[in-house]
Every structure is written in structure tokens, then in C-alpha cells.
Symmetry: D2
Subunit: 366 residues, 4 copies
């Protein structure tokens, strides 16, 4: 590789993004450098741009981008062995970076006391700066977890791995539906659509997706991806419809992936059958939800909060993309160069009037 520096889009402060140039770092026997080919975006990129993120707020200055696809540009021999890849391989990178030696890591307990996250928690002031995907090159720390992209899958397709892996983990690995179950997905964004594909793969019998009047395009795509029924909650009562569709038996499983709206939590509790499961994935900006918890008690429900993906669900997502069984390319509504990062952010933040984005991908090399 002949490049000496990388252009990156940096969040320098809340709502401020600018292009900066970073020298490419030296790498040693156990680390490497990724030529970023595509970076997927989601609602949390927008939240990060606004300075809101998780419980603690966002870090600045930072190179964002945590849905990372690229080629191994250069890496030490020990790194290649440890990562089980070769230079030139197309890979997806798990954003989570564990320290490997704290108590949680030593115990393989899944919790790392010194956890870092590519694209989110490491500022550009921490050498070598290139800790996020909105850049032509990204630094690969020795402890990085990555997955080779199956043959025949190109970078932009692979960039869908995050919403699919989330859907697989939430709808199948965690919720564990049975063949023929009835499932409702609330919220037809990219993650909700990931859930639809996972439920279809898992042999669920009836998949119902709810959305709002503004979600018409997304709901149509949900049907293309395998949803049996979609409901526009602005024009009909979703609870009545689910009751009618199931002859009063209600849903075995409801997954709430809706962002911001608080009503769907109560709907979920009402739509699910006694002893059924509600998976909560959608964040509500910290809002209090008004909920009659007696229904949870009397119906003996399980409510399960879920976070993102893990290594097993990322692997399953890549196999699913490679299978070609679903028209996943239709999720990719927008592909933009790094120079248009701000417009891309407006799209995933649903700030771009008149334009409905589902999955937006930045292509740093353009």
C-alpha cells in the first residue's frame, strides 16, 4: 500500500463534522490497518452527532462509524494468524474492543472493565487517532474481533451485517420462537426489518409488522422480506387487528424496535398472549413509559431487554447475506461519499424532509 495518510470525517463537537487528514500509523507484529470500503449507519450515528449517547454522552473529537467493512491493508504475521485472515481479505469488524486482561476478560465473563468501542469511545487524540469507520483507513488493534466476508458478497452488501445480526440475536437467539409461532415486530426501521428476516428464517408462522403512516415504504419492504401482514397504527388499532388475525389467541412474541415512541411498550404487553415474550430493543430517549404492570403479572409475561449483536449473530448475518435468499439490497436506500457525511447523518436522523432512508452507507474511498 502506498497511501501515507487517510481522510476522515471527524465529529469535533456536537453537530459539527469536518474532514481531517491523519498520517497512517506504523504497525507491528500484532496489529494492522484496514482500508475501509463501506461503513453502515444507523440512528445512533445521529444521536452521537447530537452529543447524546448511551448513559454518558458522546466523546469528542471522534471519528465515528461502528458498522465497519473493509480490506486488510496491512497487518503483522501474528495478527493475521490470530485474526485468521490474509492481507487483502474483505472483513467486517466487531466494534467492541476488549482489553483481554481485566477480571471480566480473564474470566471470559463477557464484561470488560476497559471496554473500548470503534467509532464511539476512543477520541482522535488517542494515538493513532484512526479509531472509527468514517475514514479511508482504520487502525486494527491486536484484540480486534473480525469476520471474513463470504466469497461473492461485496462491501456494500456486507455493510448490512449490523441490522441483520441485531435482528438475528433479538428475534431468534434471545426470543427463541417455535416453528409456527405468531410474532409482531413494532417499528419497520433497518433493525425491525432485520428481525423480519430472522423470524422468516426461523420458521415463524405469522409475522406482523407495525409502523406509522410515514412508514409506508418501510412496511412495503417488510412484506417483501417476509412479513405476512403490516399494520399502519395511524389508521387502525393494532391490538384489534392482532386479535382478529389470531382468532383471539394473540401473539407468542412481540419485539419492540420502535425508537422514541412510548405507546408501543403498552401495545406489546397487550398484544402478547399469556406466558408470552416481549423483547424490548427500542430506546425511548430516556422517556418514562406509562405501563399497567398488573398485566405483566396476571399474564405471567417475560419482558427481555436486549442490546446489540454478538459474535455468533454477526457470523449468522454474514451467512444470511451470502445465501441470497432475501432482497436485502432494497434496504440500502442511500450510498454516499465521506464528503456527504452530514447529509447521510440527516437521513439516518430522519431530518431530511421528503426522503425516507432505511440503511445508509458511507463509502470512504469515493
Amino acid at each position: 500500500m502506498s497511501a501515507r495518510s487517510a481522510t476522515a470525517a471527524v465529529f469535533t463537537a456536537p453537530r459539527r463534522v469536518e474532514l481531517q487528514e491523519f498520517p497512517l500509523p506504523e504497525t507491528a507484529d500484532d496489529d494492522g490497518l484496514l482500508a475501509v470500503e463501506a461503513v453502515g449507519m444507523c440512528g445512533s450515528d445521529w444521536a452521537q452527532f447530537e452529543g447524546r449517547l448511551g448513559m454518558a454522552g458522546a466523546v469528542f473529537p471522534v471519528i465515528p462509524g461502528h458498522e465497519i467493512v473493509g480490506r486488510i491493508a496491512r497487518a503483522g504475521s501474528r495478527a493475521l494468524r490470530s485474526w485468521n485472515v490474509a492481507e487483502g481479505d474483505l472483513v467486517v469488524v466487531e466494534e467492541v474492543l476488549r482489553c483481554g486482561s481485566c477480571h471480566g476478560c480473564a474470566a471470559a465473563a463477557g464484561s470488560c472493565a476497559n471496554l473500548r468501542v470503534y467509532g464511539l469511545t476512543v477520541p482522535t487524540t488517542s494515538a493513532p487517532g484512526l479509531w472509527g469507520g468514517y475514514a479511508q483507513y482504520m487502525y486494527l488493534h491486536p484484540n480486534t474481533a473480525m469476520h471474513r466476508v463470504p466469497n461473492g458478497v461485496h462491501a456494500q452488501q456486507a455493510a448490512l451485517f449490523v441490522p441483520l445480526a441485531n435482528g438475528i440475536r433479538w428475534a431468534q437467539h434471545v426470543a427463541r420462537p417455535r416453528l409456527g409461532d405468531v410474532a409482531v415486530v413494532q417499528g419497520p426501521g433497518q433493525q425491525g426489518l432485520g428481525c423480519v428476516v430472522a423470524l422468516r428464517e426461523a420458521g415463524v408462522g405469522l409475522i406482523i409488522v407495525t409502523g406509522t403512516a410515514g412508514d409506508a415504504t418501510r412496511l412495503a419492504l417488510a412484506r417483501e422480506l417476509g412479513a405476512d401482514v403490516t399494520i399502519d397504527v395511524d389508521s387502525e388499532n393494532p391490538l384489534e387487528r392482532v386479535r382478529a388475525l389470531t382468532a383471539g389467541r394473540l401473539a407468542d412474541l412481540v419485539i419492540d424496535v420502535s425508537a422514541g415512541a412510548t405507546d408501543p411498550v403498552g401495545f406489546a404487553v397487550d398484544m402478547v398472549r399469556p406466558k408470552g415474550t416481549v423483547v424490548l430493543a427500542g430506546l425511548k430517549d430516556g422517556s418514562a413509559v406509562s405501563l399497567v404492570t398488573d398485566r405483566i403479572v396476571l399474564k405471567q409475561l417475560t419482558l427481555q431487554g436486549v442490546g446489540g449483536h454478538d459474535s455468533a449473530s454477526v457470523a449468522a448475518a454474514l451467512r444470511l447475506i451470502a445465501s441470497g435468499r432475501y432482497p436485502l439490497e432494497k434496504l440500502c436506500t442511500h450510498t454516499l461519499p465521506l464528503t456527504e457525511a452530514e447529509r447521510a447523518l440527516a437521513l439516518v436522523g430522519r431530518q431530511a424532509t421528503g426522503e425516507e432512508a432505511i440503511h445508509v452507507t458511507l463509502i470512504p474511498s469515493r
Copy 2:
């Protein structure tokens, strides 16, 4: 047996109870008659007395009493075989009566389309009338599930089987704590105390019980039964205390058994560690609870609604009573004859000023 009739306390309408006399029914080969020796009471007796019960409201006229202990006064030979008891045996009766032939029963699915409940759903107008425990004798339908009381346990001790069985099912069978876990029980009523005993038996490392200023006696009893720490939420912040007691690691498990109060649901979500479990057992009179569900999502919590006991937990409760390992008699604060049913109801409904009741037992034979 020489008796020809049985005196029963009948709820004739909301807030009206009167003694009535019922002729003892003939019994055949597959049914029988129980001489009621003790009937336990709980908050739901009071709710039933007021006409509020479950989602549908209470039935009138009805003989209440669903925590039933008595002796087999008479039964057919097929009934004795099926129930695996002899005449004269002291037994506890499960209140739930399944039809045995609907689809749910035929499939052993645990749900009965024609479910009846002793003491709750069968009016006195349905022959032979004696369908509840507030009576000298109770009819035993062929499908009744019962458990022989272990030798050496008398009726009044056995009458504690319901709060203990509930505690065992909620705190151990459902919540499945690990040895050494930290558990919080919110609400030191009879069921909360049942949870304390179950957690102590299950090897939980630190048991914390919360209550209000009015719960001083109950909290003291919680400590006697095995709670390591009790917290009066009116005088200290329970979340801060749990944080301090666990060096910031929070509780592995929180069980909310508090009735009526809505704050404890939010406390539970805050007190439990990431990936921990919250068991919801306490009813809030249908009130809406204000809850920041983002915490459930971000902490990846499991919330589990639970109902009453089942056959396995009743059996375990009887073994626990027979073990003599816990001063359970201290739960029995009041024992009253049938003629004082109204006072007993005031006690369990916490309407009797100046008197704190935990478990109240009616003795119909007095």
C-alpha cells in the same frame, strides 16, 4: 361422620358476609367431602370481599376461602385411590379445579378452558354449594388436586402452604438464583416472607428486604426468617443502600411483592445489575406505573411476571414446613373462628387500625 349440615360464611354481595347453613351432599365413588380444619387468608380475600377480583370482578354469592386445609371426612373408593389418600388424612387442597377434558387439559397444556377455583369462582347456587373453605365442610370434586400433610404438622401450620409455595415458586423455581447471589425482596407481607425463606433455603448469599415505616414488625420477622438486611424506604433510599451493600455491583435478583405501591417497580429496575432478573408478583390495583424502559433495554434485564403456586411448589412448601427449620409460626399472627370472618377480612385488608396482621387463619370448626 354424623354431621348433616355445615355452617359457612358466605359473601352475598360486595362487603356483605353472613353465616349460612348448607346440607351436606351425598357423595359417590369418585368424589368426597372435606372437614375444613383451617383456611388461610390473604389480601385477595379482602379484594374479593370488596367485589374486586382478577380482571372480571368477584362472584356472588360465594363461600370464599382458597387456602384450604382439612381432613378427608368421607370419599368414594375411586376418589381415595385417585387422590392417594385415606379417610381421616389431613390434606391441603389446591384451589384450581381443571375440567380434565377440554383441549388444554387433554393436551396437558396447563390451561383449562373451564377452569374453576375453590373459594373464588363457583357460586353457592351451583350444587352442592360448598365450594369454598370458609365452611365446616367443603365438597371435593373428582378432579381435585390435593397433598397429604406430612406427619407432625398440624392444620394451622399447614395453612401457611400458600405464601410459602408462592415464595418457593417465584424466588426459586422461576428466578433460579445461584448460590451466593444477592437478592432483594420488596414488600414484607406473607408472600414476601415466603420469598425470604425460599431464598435462604436456596443458598442466596445476601437477602435484602424493603418495606415502609408501617412494616417494622414484618421487617423484624424477615430478619428472623433469614433476611440479612432490611430497609425502611421511608427513612432511607433503598437504591443507595443496595449499592453500598454490594460495592456498586447491585442485586442479581429483585422480587417485587409489594401491593398497591408503584414506586417499587422502578426501584427494582434500578437496583438490579445489568443482565439481572426482576420478578414481578405484586399487583398495583390496575394503576399505571411510570417506568424508564430504556433502563431495561440498556441493562438487558429480564422482567418476569408470575402468578401463584403450582403443584411442585406446594409439595416443596409442605416439606419445608415439616422440616421445622424456620420459625414459621411467627407468621401466624391471628387465628379466628368463622363467626369473626369480618374482623379477619379487615385484618388482611389492613383496615384494622393499630393491629398489624401477617397471616390470618380461620378455624371453621370453632
Copy 3:
């Protein structure tokens, strides 16, 4: 209905079957009569014919037939309500008949102390005699569990519900594979093929089926139904092949449905990855299997014995048949009238040289 009697094939003693005529019984408000349209057969029909069955041996004289499909010929109003069907409806009958009033039934514990099984345990000497499916009519006891056959599915298709329901329960409900898992099914008989369909529905990534040289037709059908790879263990080492197919990672799940052969148990333990699951469904005629249990310990495996279907898996099987997504009709290799019961038995017992049967159906009305 005008018929007065029903012809039935009766097992009068081991290896003796004869046609007998039974008068049709009166039925009352809570029972009924089924006009049998098809009855599926499996290896256990042959075992029963030979007098071997379960741990206790077979009952004689008996009307066999426990995979029962028919129309409600007549039934009392209470029965129709309880079964949720109308006269004339096509239904499948669960063979298991619970008493509804023993301790296990009262407790909804799934175990019945007085369990009877249609076609297996009730002799013709027990009134009204018609307790099995090899007959034009079968008696329907009040406690019968049945499922309406979906519209558009005819009786012979529905007769596949047992191998499919078994496959669904063993391969999905019990084994709980994850999307993309690698599964091996040992034994391509009707139940093994049921597992293949269930695994395909459940989104398993790689389905491998093993059989012997004599199983060529069955293995070909396995591939048509969704198996990715089939292995003839008489011509290649299945363990080596599984290792090669998985790049050494081995299978996540192995289901042994092979009958009689003991080698596959050891193969299963060797083929499955550390911490993987082996489901044992195939009976070995009581033979001792030689097994290095250290491998179970060192690989930390789960071995799970499974029996037949339950109500949920039967319902899922009927939905799957109705979906039309699989060429299930190819399982139906033989359809014979009641008069050829003996030949049908030879086929399912693999005694008919030169002819390979998979699923054999008797049509009593012919």
C-alpha cells in the same frame, strides 16, 4: 350416518391379524364416533404386531392404529364444544388419552397415572371395543385431544402429522438450533425426514443426513426435502466427512433417529462439537451401546432423550403440511386398504424384500 357396524383389523395375538366386525356404540352428550379416513403406520406398528412394545409388551386383542385421521361422524353437543369441532370436520386425533382426574392430571403435570393410548393399550374387550385406527370407525372418548385439519389438506396428507410432529418437537422445540447451525440427522426414515423438514424450516445452515447403503431412496428424498448433504455410512466414514464439511468445527447438533443400530450413538458423540447437543430418539431394541462417556464429560456435551410429539408440535405439523412448501407427498410410498394390513405391516417392518417403504397409510374405507 347409517352404518351399524365397523370392520376393524384386530391383532388377536403376536403376528396374528384378522378382520372383525364391531357394532357401532351409542354415544352421549360428551363423546363421539370418528369415521377413520386414514391411519399412518410406523415401525412401532410392526413391533406391536410382533408383541414387543415399550417396556411392558403389547396388549392383545387390540385394534392397532395410533396415527389417526378421520371425520367426526357423530358427537354430542358438549363434546363438539369441548373439542371445538363440528360433525363432518376432518381431524387428527392425538393418541394419548388422559384420565383428567388423577394427581398428575389435576396438577397439569403432563403425567397421567391412568394413561390410555388409542391403538396401543386398550383391548377390544374393553367396551366399546373400537379403540384404534385400523377400523372404519373409532370411538371418541370425552377426554380425546384432537386438531382440525386445515382447509385444503386431505386425509392422506394429514396422515403424515406424526413423523412431522416428532421431527418438529425433536429438532426444533427440544434441540433449539440457532440460525445457521450445522445439524446431522442419523437415520433417514420417516421421522428422520420429519427432522430434516423441521431443521430446514428452523433456518439451520447445513443439514447432513446419514444412512446405510440400503437407504439410497430415502437419502435422495432427504435431499429433496432440504438436506444439504447425505452420507452413506457403508461407503464413507461419516465422522471424517462431517469434519471435512465443517472445517473441523463439527456439528452443533446431532439427532439420532436410527432404529436398531448402536454405532450411531458413538458417532453422534464424536460428530458433535464441544458443548454441542445430541438428541437421542432412535430405539435400539434394548441393546447395550458401548460408549466412551469420557468424551461426553470432556466435550461437556448435552445428551437429550426424547419421546413422541405433543399438542404444540402436532399443531405445527398440520400448519406445515398446509403450507405446501415441501414435497411431503413423496413420503407416502404406499396406501393400502384394511384388507392388506398384513402386507402394510411387512412394509413398515422392512420385511418386504425389494420394496422400500417410507410412510405407509391404511385407508379403512376402501
Copy 4:
């Protein structure tokens, strides 16, 4: 600390042990040195001494000792922070050492491609040599997982953490008994006794322990630690006894911890109730076990292979030791200096005629 070198007992070849002197290594910011105070021994020390170990055979030359207790003699500031300890603290060391950067570690999947084990897999030829507990000092790699020993527990008591942690994991974390269950433990060695304590803590109702005529002392200790009944299988039929003790219902759970003997595997399958669980922990030197697997199928059993402890069970074991609720000191039958390592090995290998050892501890500082 003033020492310059450490004496260690080294296995130089199968059945050859000799004392050797190792210079103490320099340590840096992220590693350290442990002053070994006690090292527990078990049957696998003997197997290692004979050259048999796991699937691959033992490594030579090696400093054995993987049940390690000691004080932090010296460590870098980063190490102390990461391990959450101070110099001088008494700790137990988990023997498993993960690399922290392979795919399994990066994914927190619990499997490490470069796993090393203190006392077992790292030869003395790998610098700094001191990789096992049979030594005055042991090297502490940055990735070491350790637990501070609770106040008031001395090193020799803490050396019991391994059999207790194994018992807690196998009998409680994995087997998940319910309050009042019936459990059988086969094999009253140190790990079987660890299971007894764990089962007692977990509220199991009836604990039965089986052993041979030679196990009289161990069985007596089992009773002291909480076993309700012990059975000498050389003088009575354990299956008959279990059947009698449970009125025919059999055990809910059987844990086989017996080493070498193959009969107990079949006993376990026979002693457990339908749908019960058998935990397999005892290794049989690679012997084939003759097993009627039809019983696993027909009884729908779960057989679960288990390995050693994990971080959660070690923590629980230390809390249990600190509780003082069990006379655990009685397990410590022999305490020997490093110079008597060979005699200690004979004891744990049951080669020392006339002397029955349970837990043997080496004290390297003597």
C-alpha cells in the same frame, strides 16, 4: 521481598519428580509474582505424574500444581489495578490463562485458541519457568484471573476452593435443582463432597451419596457435610435403596463423580426419574461404558457432561468457605511440604496402602 530464587518440584518425565531451583524473574508494570502458600491436589495430579492427561498426554518438564493459593509478592501497578488486589493480599489463582486476543477471546466466547493452564501445559523451558504451584514462587502473567481470599480464611482452607467450586458448578449452576429435590452423588471423593455441600446449600431435600466398601471414612464425612443417606454399593444394591427411599419416584438428579468405575453410569440412568437429569463429571480412563441408551430415550433423560469450575463458581466457593457453615477442614486429611511431593502424589493416586486421603495440600514454604 528478598528471595532471589524459588525451589520447585518438577515433573521431568513420567513418574519422575525432582526439586529444582529457579531464579525469580523480573516483573514489569503488568505482571507479577506469587508467593505460593498452599497448593491443593487431586486425582489429575496423579494422572499427570503418570503422563496421562486429557486427550493429549502430559507435558514435561513441568512444575505441576493448578489449585493455587498464595500472596501477591510483587506486581506492577497496572497489574494490581487490573487484578484489583494489593501486594500482600492472599489470593486464589484460576489455572486457566487466556490469550486475550484470539477470535474466541475477542468475542468473549469462552474458548481461547491459545489457552495455557498453570501447572499443566507450560513447560519449565518456557521463560520464566515458574508456571505451576509446586513451587515457592509462581509467575503471574498479565492475563491471570484471581480472586482475593475473604478475610479470616487462611491459605490451607482456601486451597479447598477447587473441589468446592466444581461441586457448586456441577450440582447447582449446571444441574439447577429445585428446593426439596432428591439428588444422588456417586463417588465421595473431594469433588463428590463438594457436590454434597453445594446441594445442601441449594436446599435439596434428600441427598444420597454412594461409594464402595473402601470409602467408609469418606461416606461418614459426606454425612457430616449434609448427606442424608450414604450407600455402600459393595454391600447393598444402590438402585433398590434409592427406589425405597423415594417410594419409587426415583431421584430428580444424579451426579456421577466416580473415577474409573463404569457401572455408575448405568446406575445413574436407572436411578433417575423420567425427565430427570444425570450430570457426568467422573472420568473413566477412556474406558467404554456399556449403556442401554433406550432408557435415556424412553425416560426422556438429560445427560450433561461437565468440566471444571468457572469464575462465578470459584467466587461462590470462597464465600462458602468463609461462611464457616460446614466442617470443611475435615476434607484436609494431609498437609505436606514440597519435599514430600512424591508421597502426596501417592496419596491422591490412592497408591498409599492403608491410608485414605481426601484432600491433600502441599505447603511450598515449609
